[in-house]
Symmetry: C2
Subunit: 312 residues, 2 copies
């Protein structure tokens, strides 16, 4: 038995204000690690118990099963998951495990897949948590940086974010409903006013220009969303206060982190990031909700760890 | 009496597929020229008769009146308009006159306005034709290149287009209804399906990346619009055929030019642009409609002509 192949993949923020279902941003807040080992039979999962242990329900397990089938690879695989991205808080937790699994599998069997193929396989793992395939988080987790996704056919554009971009994320200590992503998608409107469509479209376009031109102020000012945020903010205790507080403390823009309930403030390295984080925590506190805060920046995508480490 | 100050401004393509009300692109297909002269009293208009002669109804006249009032400039002004952008065909004809008027006025009275102010004044002229202020065409006509507009507050981002980008425009020989822009806006849906919103948003985002990364293929492939084009295409005889023909002839993307009825195909310098143009003309012919075709490329914005020329 070998010591296995370990890949790690970052947390990611999807939706990103007006970029719903299209934008994703890899951040260095947390990383999941997945170690794959060849075994004699079946797919088995080792984890700390925070994720499903059945390969059919587990994000990494689904990715490994799909890749095994597609490339007609026999034998068994043991999947050890070191879960560090908190599941259910809008930080691309399942995408991180899926991306790490795809990258580790690719390396273990020396498939030499290109990034687009890795994104596609990682995307199959999203089904486990989201009930449908969305590539925004997995694209960011696989490729790193800022990813833009067009589906049908799948096409991913990756842009290197500005070096001075910083995010303050406030993660509330609340119970996450089961199938949260499905629940929060249920809050989305079926129809959008044409004028709102134009507002979000112009802001999303400005965000893309901001990432391309390495202009963190433009990114922050453009992260305004008049469609999804109004529909989902009631899921987040104290959202308006959190947002106001962060903006008053100097954040350039604030929005729901993924499908929530975390909230993310966009800012620059030169801002008082601790002040912004504290202001956001006070916003949650105003709704009698505790939270933890993380300051993070964009990061690169999933990669192989040079040395496989022992799993917990 | 001086010989006057002459500015010229280019035609422009607004809407640009998924970029409705947000994107504008200045093109070298046609230019309007406006010459302003100080006179003893009132605002008078000299033209070839294709545009209204009353300053209150004329795009350039409105711009000049508004600038005169804002900067408290007394005396009269003679506005001579050399109209070359065909009015009513979706090529930013009124915006070209408005942009040229604003730039000429700025120079004549040595105001030293910045580009954003020029866009704002030129935008007031759009009211004459569109019934409301839209900045997509005027931003392109003033600034040149690819312009993205966010309104409320007005913010314009200009991106230099790829050098190899080419457009084939087919301009049908049909009668244009009065208040065409208002009519074509009336065809727009009040509500947009959420899924369609996402499709157009992802395509618009990809277009911005295409302009930023000077990738004409990406621009062309992303210019797909599932909202405005389906609503407006019935205004254009033979649209589906024109589009199919152009794509088969090698165009990367095809969409309605502005509010129509012209049709624009996006392509690269290396493509067979004559073949694409002919294919589009055959599309119009299939609906018993004649057209003229123009091959053009992005151009810079409104500027002062070095030497004032005699008006026709």
């Amino acid at each position: 038995m070998t010591s296995g192949t370990t890949a790690r993949a970052p947390a990611s923020i999807a939706n990103l204000g007006p970029g719903f279902d299209v934008f994703g941003l890899a951040v260095n807040a947390f990383y999941d690690e997945v170690t794959l080992k060849k075994t004699k039979g079946g797919i088995t999962i080792i984890s700390d118990g925070s994720v499903p242990s059945s390969p059919r329900d587990n994000t990494a397990g689904i990715v490994v099963s799909n890749m095994k089938r597609r490339f007609k690879i026999g034998g068994g695989i043991e999947i050890a998951i070191r879960k560090r991205v908190p599941p259910g808080f809008g930080m691309g937790s399942s995408a991180a495990s899926a991306a790490a699994a795809a990258v580790a599998f690719d390396r273990l069997f020396r498939l030499g897949l290109d990034p687009a193929e890795l994104v596609e396989f990682a995307g199959t793992g999203e089904k486990a948590s989201a009930g449908a395939i969305h590539y925004d988080n997995v694209a960011a987790a696989v490729l790193g940086g800022f990813a833009m996704v067009r589906t049908d056919p799948l096409d991913v554009i990756m842009i290197e974010p500005p070096a001075d971009l910083r995010m303050c994320i406030a993660i509330p200590k609340i119970d996450i409903p089961k199938k949260k992503t499905r629940v929060s998608r249920g809050l989305l409107p079926k129809q959008v006013r044409f004028s709102d469509h134009i507002v979000n479209l112009s802001n999303a376009s400005a965000m893309v220009a901001g990432f391309e031109e390495k202009d963190s102020d433009l990114i922050g000012s453009a992260i305004q969303d008049v469609i999804v945020e109004p529909a989902r903010m009631r899921m987040i205790p104290g959202f308006s206060k959190i947002k106001d507080n962060a903006l008053k403390a100097g954040a350039a823009g604030v929005t729901i982190c993924g499908a929530g309930p975390s909230v993310v403030a966009f800012s620059k390295k030169s801002a008082d990031l601790e002040k912004i984080s504290t202001a956001m925590a006070k916003g949650f506190a105003s709704a009698k909700t505790k939270c933890m805060t993380v300051v993070c920046k964009p990061t690169k995508g999933a990669g192989i760890r040079n040395k496989a480490k022992a799993m917990p």
